[in-house]
């Protein structure tokens, strides 16, 4: 297992938090949320692991989106 860099750990930690957020949502809409989270992360798979500026920007964006979607009032997400 290769040692993970700090920034890789940040990305994984964000993904873990997103998945934990999905588990807090009502049962019927969990599939929608999980699909949304996976799509958001999949979209930027092509970013090079050395492109720190872009990765940090996407991390900030992701955290802000997580703060918004984790609010208890958000019950479902439509694509």
């Amino acid at each position: 297992m290769v040692r993970l860099t700090g920034i890789q750990r940040d990305v994984l930690s964000l993904y873990r938090s997103c998945l934990r957020m999905v588990r807090e949502k009502p049962m019927e809409s969990q599939a929608n949320f999980r699909e949304y989270v996976r799509d958001e992360f999949r979209e930027h798979l092509s970013v090079s692991k050395k492109d720190f500026a872009t990765i940090e920007h996407l991390l900030r964006l992701g955290r802000r989106k997580l703060d918004t979607y984790s609010q208890p009032g958000v019950k479902n997400i439509y694509r």
Binding site: H44, V47, S48, D51, A53, T54, H57, L58, R60, L61
Partner: protein
Amino acid sequence: MLSRSALRAASSASRTAIPISARTLASVATSQVAPSTPESKKPRIKKFQVYRWNPDQPEKKPYMQEYELDLNQTGPMVLDALIRMKNEIDPTLTFRRSCREGICGSCAMNIEGTNTLACLCRIDVDTSKPSKIYPLPHTYVVKDLVPDLTQFYKQYKSIKPYLQRKDPPTPMKENLQSVADRKKLDGLYECILCACCSTSCPSYWWNSSEYLGPAVLMQSYRWIADSRDQFKEERKAALDNEMSLYRCHTIMNCSRTCPKGLNPGLAIAKIKKELAFGS
């Protein structure tokens, strides 16, 4: 009667041809009466270099894009130039603007190295040098010239910028204040929270998470100095720690750059004086 082709030739937007709006027609129609039309003056072409970055393509690094405008057809302020660039050359150029008279604080940006409001900053008519327009320094950029000011607003909220009283309100009676006490607020209440001063302070660049910055500190002094407010000691105690106020080292970039001519450095000095010798 000027033909459409003549109008197009006279148009000064030098990027790929975009149909001329009715606005240009209106300006030519009125000047037909005057002896000298805009076309007879030589066009003064000014170059503008504008910072561009698109969050939809985050891998593409920020770059400077150059635009050329005829100053004879443009209003005197940088905001007029930016609006013309957006309307006639590049509609994707993004910036905040609202009042166009220097009172809302939306168009704060870094023009030729100085943080000002674009609607109050005159275009330098020297056409030999390009004009450089950047977003406010050391801020996260949402897009092009739009800075992310959420931390700035959070810090402003944290100082509780509203009147706080301990006495219950007396019905049918305002909170009275003498003329001398009201004079103390002059130079403090006019702040439009444009963030020009805070983003010009090197101390705020290096410690923006804990240092409040000159704009927020000036507003906290505005409430400390207000005779109607009764929570003065609590406000002073909130600033009495290592980082919130005392990261100010009187660099005084804030007072130099304030587009409204206010003096945040002086307000911060007054807070320090209050905390040191306060009653």
